[in-house]
Symmetry: C2
Subunit: 465 residues, 2 copies
Amino acid sequence: MVSAPPKLSRSSGQVPSSRARSLVPVGMATILPHAAKQVRCLEEQLLAQVNGWGYDEIILPTFEYLDVLAPGLEPELIEHCYQFVDRTTGRTLLLRPDATAQIARTVAMGLTGVALPLRLSYRTSVFRYEQEHAGRGREIFQVGAELIGLNDVTSDSEVIDLMIECLHTIGLQSFKVSLGHVGFIKGLLVRSGLSAQGQKLAEQAAARKDLPRLEEILAGERISKTAARAIREAPELYGQEDVLSRGRVLAAGDPALVAPLERLAQVYHLLCAAGHRDSLLLDLGEFRGFDYYDGVVFDVFAEGMGAELGGGGRYDHLIGRFGRPLPSTGFGLDVDRLFRTIEFPEEGSVPARVDYLVAAPSRATGRLTAVAAQLRRTHSRIVQQTMNGSDAALVSAAVTAGLAQQAASVVVVGAPGTGPDEVLVVESLAAHRQGGRARNLSRLAKKMGLADLVAAARRQVKERS
Amino acid sequence: MVSAPPKLSRSSGQVPSSRARSLVPVGMATILPHAAKQVRCLEEQLLAQVNGWGYDEIILPTFEYLDVLAPGLEPELIEHCYQFVDRTTGRTLLLRPDATAQIARTVAMGLTGVALPLRLSYRTSVFRYEQEHAGRGREIFQVGAELIGLNDVTSDSEVIDLMIECLHTIGLQSFKVSLGHVGFIKGLLVRSGLSAQGQKLAEQAAARKDLPRLEEILAGERISKTAARAIREAPELYGQEDVLSRGRVLAAGDPALVAPLERLAQVYHLLCAAGHRDSLLLDLGEFRGFDYYDGVVFDVFAEGMGAELGGGGRYDHLIGRFGRPLPSTGFGLDVDRLFRTIEFPEEGSVPARVDYLVAAPSRATGRLTAVAAQLRRTHSRIVQQTMNGSDAALVSAAVTAGLAQQAASVVVVGAPGTGPDEVLVVESLAAHRQGGRARNLSRLAKKMGLADLVAAARRQVKERS
């Protein structure tokens, strides 16, 4: 689960928008080629890292029966799902709102014969009615990993270590992972003597760090001043190691509070030993907001991005809700938010879109195809195009096409005066693109043997890799 | 568009199934790790080929407004869509039933400033209520390409050439591309004097090669015997070059029939020149079944797979339905059917799932993480695991874990008697996996310097690539 579930609030997104009738539903992005390439590149890098740690990808269905998946979803999240009736069975379907619940369902019901621990990864979209504002899509691209069947400190630290390495891999410069344990604040709430309802409300307020609301809830029930003070203090306990000492004071030797603190401390120290101290922020109020989390939990934030980039935590009882108790932990990252956080190279330094535009008059289409096929075998990226118009304008038309297609070079097949194994080549279009006129560029055309061209293409591919 | 749209028939899938209440909706597959790896590998190979031809990937939203997308969908397909009401706007949404229509919508409405021709590719799922039978998923994985802005023989042949190269790339051994032109049979129907309704019904029967039904339709209207004979013959005209000659006889000089035949002949000859003669089958009855096709069309079939693996064709008027007339052609492939058609290496020859399982007693977790990180830097695939139990059983427990995780080798960190830069290594677990007992295998453990281990890992990765 990447982002905390949406909160119902008075300014809910349910009200029809007053904007003009839109062509594409709100929050559903079409990702155009330039951005799509970067998004896919991010995905590949994340998956390669996750794969390197032995996590196998699993591909999950886009929608499921609500009644089957519901045990893994909290009621508030279900209210934000896209639901519809299955015409074949009359049962309610829902578009996947959360990958972790779906994996839990699959592990409990479908993957019963495999060796534990099980390391699974996914890249997928989840769908939720989110309030309309910048950076909150309704189709959310995620990459994530789940480590199933272990309940120890090393598995807690493994998934966080892996997530941090993922962020390094994609070149994310400055980010913080806030690290907490849901058991600490839950323990404080239980100890305080708050009603069950009061505990639930206080949890939600603490998760949002909504201190005035928390104050209100605490004031509404009879609990001791000391207990109230501890609950009030917890959400503000974030920082480095000293947070743990202060937590120990609040715990006052209560095993129900000391145990989560000690677990958190061990995970923190393992991660520091792995070199991640500077990326970590202990947060005793950290709560994620998903009620299936029941151990060490974490969120990632980056400067300049209000919303979290991802997160995760331990969910030892989630898979059990589907009938097979198995301790687990995992994380998910929001690929779209990562994409918007990372700085990609400027347009100007982007290489040509294709290596060669291979052009020919239509009478030479057969040779055009053959030359293009030969060049593709070098792993060059080739666009082929037949040209209409006079032979005199052939090269200049090819150069114009090459500029339009952002080709690095243009190859002309079947030009007058070239032999059967010869082509005309205009190189380095990029250098001349700005202000370069096709007519002038066509003067740079040079005759080349086909074998030499193929050898040059192969050299270029080799140099690039 | 990969597969022909579903036909409404008496044995429609709308009737609730009598099977036991299922956990996952019919036709929605969960793809488990072993298969997922192969499916992703297929996708990557297909996309790499398509990318090599200069087609840029575009990522499209999973659902759209019905009213916006409807102009690109035929009524019969709309009836087979997953539809639901958007809570925010009250408008009807539908899960993408077809990628081509969505790309047409995007090109007409959102990609107005880009240079033509435009080459776009996609990997996505489409969703349709299909009748329940083997090999008909309702979430259909597709990879496809569209060439937009050209209407010439070369562009027709380019997309077919590219599709065939895609099939070669993934190692599909024997397949046939049936190649036709919707204008030919349409021309015959127009010339015959059939009513508009009769033409539509006859088209559908011809597309299904349902000759008895075709006969019935022809008998129901007053048309000349010669015209009826020609219409009856067309769906049976498939084979090699002689099909074209017979087609010319039926055309009898009528330009409305000769033009499609000549276009088809030119595309066929270009593809033969590109070396694809053996994969081609001319089919004058080829009809695809999507009413947006209006030129050269094609399907791919493989032996032993009843349903088509993909196909495509020219749709010069589809983008115009969204307000921007642009000639176009393209293809789509059904990744799941390709996956089921291709023979993958036998289980036995599959390499180990991970390269090293790195194990340590929990007291050495810090060193475990460090060694695993060092090995990952060699691009080896690593699983790390802390071991409980006595030091005496450490290596044997690690080997057991390594066998369970299908690791090629096991590395033990922090074993008694090893120095700070030393590890114990048990290699070639795979060779001993069958019948190999952990206790016996652990006797093969040898002491190794960490630097030597890293060097060996690096060598192995290099040898593999």
